[in-house]
Every structure is written in structure tokens, then in C-alpha cells.
Symmetry: C2
Subunit: 333 residues, 2 copies
């Protein structure tokens, strides 16, 4: 990572600023959610469907708050946010290596937020040299704050270092994905095409879930299948060690940038969701932030026979062997 242009002290200051910004933004999210408990905005909540408007307004308000705060403090830094991106004319990948860039999702898990399911959060990443150096994720309804800065560890609520189990970090299970908690999302592409993303995803989920020996040898018998409806929270829980594997396509960079910083700082591995031609021998490369395709493996310790990284890579190959290729491109890419 190129942080040459930033001193460690400057990075510390930016980190402290980002953490406070995350707390303040999360508080705004929670206040907006709570204003609905007792019937403010009643007109908009008569039909749950129409509460999309509430989400949009909260999204925009919180993004404006974050963007203004950053512009005031760091006028030279670039800013990429979900809301401003959606309203812009360009669909290009906007994060360059040239300037330090903030990449922000003011509200990840919008469907959850609409329905007041607690798995929603604000996600703030600070990117240097094209790579996430700082990540802040705050889920205010759960009172869970995940933070990381390159070289300074990853933390839950600023006191509990991640992964949670620390002095002997568990290796990946011998027969992974068996023994693993597998996190995945159904997503928004629900087209009923025989070979569309929905069916490719479900086929992959089934391979991971089915008994060993089933599915023509692809049965993975994972310990559990989880779907939270938030890519950001999926990554946070993978960094925590609670999810062993997260596999997903279709995310945007603001969904994952903060989670990547936290996962990598905790010792997790992140690569692409789509299986290469030969899953058993292909190079396992670091994921590209704009790729929209992600496979995350939790932090892992060594076993008697392999290093933590070897266990993670073995798990990546076992997932690739069971996963279908997903079709998510960048508009204009």
C-alpha cells in the first residue's frame, strides 16, 4: 500500500476522524429509524413498500452529512458515495490511485432498514493508493462498531480485537467447507432464467449445503447457511471469525471497501467469487475493489500441517469447486 505521502501521525488523525464520523452518522441513522417507531412519517409507512422514500431521504441526508464533514476537514481528498454515484452520469470506476479517496455507503442494508431489521449500518472507507487503509462500520441498532486502520488492528467496539478468538486463532476446518458457517445473499437479480444469476447462486448454495457425497461429489455440508441482507455486515462478521466464508456477486465498492479494510487487517483473505478455469491450481489473487465479485475467508491460524494462509487458500479452492460463475459487470466496463 502506498501511504508514503501520508505520515503515520496523519493516518492516526484521519482514523480518529473516520471513527467519530461513523459514530455520528450511525446515530443519525438510528434517530431516523426511531422516528418511525412512534408514528412520525406515518403517511409513508402505511404501506411498507412506499417506505423506500424514507430510505432514500435518510440515505441522502446521511451521505450529505458525511461528505460535508470530510470536505471541511480534508478538502484535498476525493469522495465516492453511493448516492452521489447513483445520481452522477458516469458509471466508471471512480477510485483512482492519484488522490486519497473516501468511499462511503451512508446506509448499507437498505431493505433491512426499511423493515427495521437491525442488520443495517454506515460504511466509511479511506483509500490510499487504490487500497482500503481505514474501515469504519457502525450498526447502531446492534450497537456494534467495527474499525480498522492498516497496521493498527481490527476492533469491535474499540475494545475487543478481531478476530474474537485470539490467542490461538482456529485453523480452517480440515474438511472445509464442512464445519464452516457460509454466508451468502439472494440479492436483487431475481430473473427466473434457467442460467441466470439467481439459479447459479442457488445451485452454488445447494452445493455448499448438501451432504458430503451429494450433488455429484460437490456436497459441502457446511455447518450453517446465513443470509443477513448486508454485504457490509457479512464482511464484518467474517473479520470477527463468526462467518468462515462469504461468497457474493453484485456488490459495489462502497458496499465492501470498509469491510475489506477490516477483514484484511484482522487477517482474513479476500479474492474473487468466480471460479478460475482450474480451481485447484490457479493463483489466488487479491480481490480488485471494483470487481463486484467477492469471496472472503475468515482469519485462520496454523494447524499442525499447514499455515493459516494455506488453510484459507485450500478453503478458497473448495468454494470455487462448488460455485457457479456469476455474471455481474460494471456498466461501461
Amino acid at each position: 500500500m502506498d501511504t508514503k505521502s501520508l505520515t503515520e501521525r496523519e493516518l492516526d488523525d484521519i482514523y480518529a476522524f473516520a471513527v467519530q464520523l461513523g459514530k455520528d452518522a450511525g446515530k443519525l441513522l438510528l434517530e431516523a429509524a426511531q422516528s418511525r417507531f412512534n408514528g412520525e412519517n406515518t403517511q409513508e409507512v402505511v404501506e411498507k413498500d412506499s417506505s423506500v422514500d424514507i430510505v432514500t431521504k435518510t440515505d441522502e441526508d446521511v451521505e450529505a452529512f458525511i461528505k460535508t464533514s470530510i470536505n471541511q476537514k480534508y478538502p484535498d481528498h476525493a469522495f465516492v458515495g453511493e448516492e452521489s454515484y447513483s445520481k452522477g452520469s458516469s458509471r466508471a470506476y471512480l477510485i483512482s490511485d492519484a488522490a486519497p479517496t473516501w468511499c462511503v455507503d451512508p446506509l448499507d442494508g437498505t431493505v433491512n432498514y426499511t423493515h427495521l431489521f437491525p442488520m443495517f449500518c454506515v460504511s466509511i472507507a479511506f483509500i490510499v493508493g487504490g487500497k482500503p487503509a481505514i474501515g469504519v462500520i457502525y450498526a447502531p441498532f446492534l450497537n456494534q462498531l467495527f474499525t480498522a486502520c492498516r497496521g493498527r488492528g481490527a476492533w469491535l467496539n474499540e475494545t475487543q480485537r478481531l478476530p474474537l478468538i485470539r490467542n490461538l486463532i482456529p485453523p480452517m476446518p480440515k474438511n472445509a467447507p464442512s464445519g464452516c458457517v457460509f454466508s451468502c445473499e439472494w440479492g436483487k437479480d431475481r430473473k427466473d432464467r434457467p442460467d441466470g444469476n439467481l439459479h447459479r447462486k442457488v445451485e452454488s448454495f445447494l452445493n455448499m449445503a448438501a451432504e458430503v457425497g451429494g450433488r455429484g461429489g460437490k456436497g459441502g455440508m457446511v455447518h450453517g447457511v446465513r443470509s443477513l441482507g448486508s454485504a457490509t455486515m457479512d464482511l464484518a462478521y467474517t473479520a470477527m471469525g463468526a462467518f468462515d466464508i462469504w461468497w457474493e456477486g453484485g456488490c459495489w465498492e462502497w458496499d465492501v471497501a470498509a469491510g475489506i479494510a477490516i477483514l484484511q487487517e484482522a487477517g482474513g483473505l479476500l479474492t474473487t467469487a468466480n471460479p478460475p478455469e482450474d480451481p485447484s491450481t490457479a493463483q489466488i489473487e487479491d480481490v480488485k475493489l471494483g470487481s463486484r465479485l467477492y469471496l472472503a475467508i475468515r482469519p485462520a491460524g496454523p494447524s499442525g500441517t499447514e499455515s493459516g494462509r494455506e488453510g484459507q487458500e485450500r478453503t478458497v479452492r473448495e468454494v470455487w469447486r462448488r460455485a457457479r460463475e456469476l455474471d455481474y459487470t460494471r456498466p461501461g466496463a
Copy 2:
């Protein structure tokens, strides 16, 4: 519900006792989880697979604590707990109408607990006349306490009445299941039989998720599909209004008894998961506690054209239309 033998004052006392018991038991769960953060029981966490032992020990310890506390305070009450049931010789349905009965799962979401994913909880129900009258669910890692007593409302953390949106409870969406958050679980039956439970479940999930018009007209285009790995938490979030629909087979009575008390007191509907011969006209009956098959609908307010109950029943029929019959029987039933 037959509470004739209990005065309202007695029920109040039992409710207060149950809430404190839930808090104390949840604290024990959290302490046992935290003891693993810094490497106590290191031997057992070297392989995540073998941490099943930890779970069993915690399960047994917490159930023993709960059972002893109840026996001391209410020696005449019956007790059914997951651990004691599993070790007993009978597989019969043990809850009778004769005596007030406590039905307890000391740790629901055991896979989550093993992996330290926060969605685990203690579940305590008090049953009178065969029906859950009191429910206490405490998820200590989330600091979320759900409580209810027949006639006294359902509550989150003792201060926020459920459902969360109150002064104008949203009706069910007009085109439900479209617009609904659908909660479901993959469960433990992973046999790769063409018409086994795993494939029937996935077919039902796909029907609920796919675009309207897809799946031969069964596409439900739900707003989101969620899987938490805890039937108890699923029911709590349905009572909260965060999940619109929960559909599941395979649960035992201790998984759901407390959640049923909370959901029903919040105004939710609970019936059977398995579709009747004619989903559009069949009577919608209250679920039987020992049935192992559950379909829950969140509390719903009236719209301009139907009552809350009518909206819930309409949603039940739409789920039945998309759901396959599941095969879960009681051993010996």
C-alpha cells in the same frame, strides 16, 4: 387460554421471575462465550468442529441453572428442556394441559454460538393449558431482550413495545409476498434426495424469491430472504415486525414456545408451514405447539379494504401457494 387456576397477580409474579431468569441465564451464555475470546478452553477451540463439546457443556450447565431455579421457586410446575428431553427415553410430546409447564431452550442457535455469531439466545416459556402464556428470549451478545406475558404486551428491552411501528401498524403489502422480508432456514436435513426436505425447502425459497411471473406463476419477488440460524430469533424479529414472514419445519417446542408467546402477544399470526389441499379456502388454524411445522406472519394493521387479520390470512395463503410440504414427524408420533 386456561389461566383459571392462576390469579393475575400470580401470573405477574411468574412473569417477573421468568424475565430475571432469562437475564441471568443469558449472562451465563455470554460469559461462557467470552471465556473463549482470550483462549480459555484453548484445546477445544483448536478445531472449530470440536467446539461442539463446549456447546454441549454450556447447554447443560445453563439448563441445569434454569431448572434448579424453577424447581426451587415453583416445585409444582412441570419442566421440559431441550437437554433433559434429549437425554430422556421418551420422544413423546411432553407438554400436557394438566400442570403449568416451563419449556426451555438454554441455548438456541447453537451453531451460531459455536462460531461466535451473535444470533444465539436463551428461550424460556411458561405454558398454561397447553398454550404459551409467557415468553422470554434474551440474546446477550446483541443485548436484545424480548419479553411477553398474555395481556401485558410484547416488549424489546422492557421499554419498547412490539411491533416497533405502533401508532399505525403497517398492513400487509397489497401484493404480498412481494414487499415482504421472508425468513427461512436451511436446517440440518441436508440429504441430497430429489424430493427430500432440502430440495423441497430450496424450491419453496426459490418460489418466494423469483420475479413475479417466474416459476410458472409462483414467483413471489419478496423484498429480501434472510437466514439467521435461530428459529427463536426468527420469531422474535417477526414479532418486532422486521420479518414479515417466517416459514420453517423441523423445530421442537422449546425452539418456538417463547417466540410464540411473544409473537401472539404482539399481534402476529402463527399457523402450519405445510399447505393444505386447497390453500385458498382452507381454515387457517392456530398452530399446534408440538407440530414441528410453523408459518408466522408479523403483526399487521388494517388497510382501507381489509382488517389486519384478513391481510395476514391472505399472506398465509400466498405462502402456502408457493411452499412445498415438508416431512418432519415426531419420533413415536
